[in-house]
Symmetry: C2
Subunit: 340 residues, 2 copies
């Protein structure tokens, strides 16, 4: 793992890089939002209602921007990247609807989740609808390769979610096991989004692979920071409940490190009770965070994320230099210091 | 609606026609089962475990057989119909997993449902996995047209399920509203399965349309008989609980007819209480069936199914005669008298 970064970076740098990218692809992004809106149409009123609650709730559109930026890095002048980026966001939306059912979440991006407002059944079915619409959009691109990349990624995402359920409450889950979960449930879509953008722009195999690698490493870094924020974020900034992962017994990296560092019998039985047996009292989250502070597990998770962010930046070495690849590098660079 | 059939048909005719079709496509069906098994593979052990519980639980493979039979009707000699038929069965399996979560079902084909054995969360995620794998199989066929047909059908299925949720407990739901639900949630996949088989076999546009029409009408007839069996079937034969639709307040055709026929205030308040307000007591199912008998609502539903079965048979007029189209016609013909 590389040494921690020497330069101080902060959250405003990350937000700045995102805004910079949004500016560079702003026309495309408007077209993507139009394609997403079209895809949510249905004579069944509940569908556009639920879908727009989710899709318009202020997401950064990071994943579809990876597709747009990858295609734009090769001066692509066609239109396939618009449908493709919209499809990527719809797949992401479908997984969010299903995840919130699976995790019994109540808050996302500062708003009540769809499962809380409309119910679990509705979330399952509208997720299926968005997922199907994503494939309809990909069909419009006419590219079998793109369909191949994203159908594989979708299967991997579902595998990762099942694997995460299987590791939940398992206090002996390791760093490697958790990395497998993160690669599958989060990074696979980042990787596919970036790779597919390069594919529609007719980039070389090497360059397609470079964007895949960039997306995969960025996705891992991004998820690890999400895991840190679940313990350290301020709810107002984060837009979701702090401590959700703890309450669900999710074996994310901060917990994996803290459990590995536990020396005393008292500490070991704390983790066994709260995570292994899901028996939690009101003050347990505060105690868990105190244990994490004592062993620097949040800092160590950020350090791991830093390593993956550096890998992401390095992957872009194979891409011709330009404003878009530079901004993608900045996003990776600053992503480890984001606070939301 | 055509007059009820004059010839007496019974369940053994239906089972005979299914077995006949299974015989005609037996090599293909073996290959389809192989492709399905391959698709369920995953390093995450729970996935093949749950998927095989569902997929190997003795389904008739009716939908994939429509694909095989449609392709076979044009003496297709390629292999794309195998992956396509397997994809159709995986989409069906994915919708079953999600439906059982949505309907809170406990029995399917005589076995406990996956949501009861493993849980709702697992069923949602493994459904997503099977759905993604279905698209991977379609990608292997290399046919964008096939992907177009089945991604559209998948969106329509989800729409139909949401529409059904919206009509649940709505005592004023009409015949037309329910027909919209049935076309979407069930018949769309029958239609897509048959049409896509004709597409890979390079049938003419007219013949593709004929198979689409056949599948759509057969699917409607099939679902209407399912709805009858939910009230009249013997649990041992049916493999699922009798009266599930009543308990869930589903506005299926037998109930739509019975509510429309209700004359007395007592009968009207019975339906309002049990279906409209979901307040049910132990004897209510028996009372509901008694009301249905009094107004012949089950017979009238079978009669409606008969009309759609006749439409299915008529659609096959445009297909060159042969053993496969004849057996498909028999399946439609006998489907209205099946008892499971």
């Amino acid at each position: 793992m590389p040494a921690p970064a020497k330069i101080i970076k902060n959250d405003s740098d990350f937000r700045g890089a995102i805004q910079h990218l949004q500016g560079l692809v702003s026309d495309d992004l408007t077209a993507v939002n139009g394609a997403i809106m079209d895809s949510m149409r249905s004579p069944v009123a509940l569908i556009p209602e639920m879908a727009s609650h989710l899709i318009n709730a202020g997401g950064k559109r990071l994943r579809p921007m990876l597709t747009l930026a990858a295609a734009g890095s090769f001066s692509y002048t066609g239109k396939a990247h618009i449908d493709l980026a919209a499809a990527v966001e719809l797949i992401h939306g479908a997984t969010l609807l299903h995840d919130d059912v699976v995790d019994e979440s109540i808050l996302r991006r500062g708003a009540k989740t769809a499962n809380i407002i409309w119910g679990n059944k509705e979330s399952v079915l509208v997720g299926d609808f968005l997922f199907s619409r994503a494939f309809e959009l990909m069909v419009r691109t006419g590219s079998i390769t793109v369909l191949d990349i994203l159908s594989r990624a979708s299967a991997v995402i579902a595998e990762g979610e099942v694997l995460q359920l299987a590791t939940q409450n398992n206090v002996s889950a390791s760093y490697d096991m958790y990395l497998d979960v993160v690669k599958a449930k989060t990074a696979a879509l980042f990787a596919a989004a970036a790779e597919a953008g390069a594919v529609v722009a007719n980039a070389s195999q090497d360059q397609q692979k470079a964007f895949y690698d960039y997306g995969l490493s960025l996705g891992i870094a991004y998820q690890l920071i999400d895991d840190v924020l679940d313990y350290s974020g301020a709810q107002g900034v984060l837009g979701k409940s702090v401590g959700d992962d703890f309450r669900e017994g999710k074996m994310t990296l901060p917990i994996v490190f803290a459990i590995a560092a536990a020396k005393t019998g008292e500490e070991k039985s704390f983790w066994q009770r709260t995570i292994g047996n899901s028996e939690q009292k009101e003050d347990d989250l505060a105690q868990a965070i105190a244990y994490m502070k004592a062993c620097n597990s949040l800092e160590r998770t950020i350090e791991a994320a830093r390593g993956f962010a550096d890998d992401a930046i390095k992957a872009l070495d194979k891409i011709p230099s330009g404003k878009l690849p530079q901004t993608l590098a900045d996003i990776a660079d600053y992503s480890v210091m984001r606070s939301a």
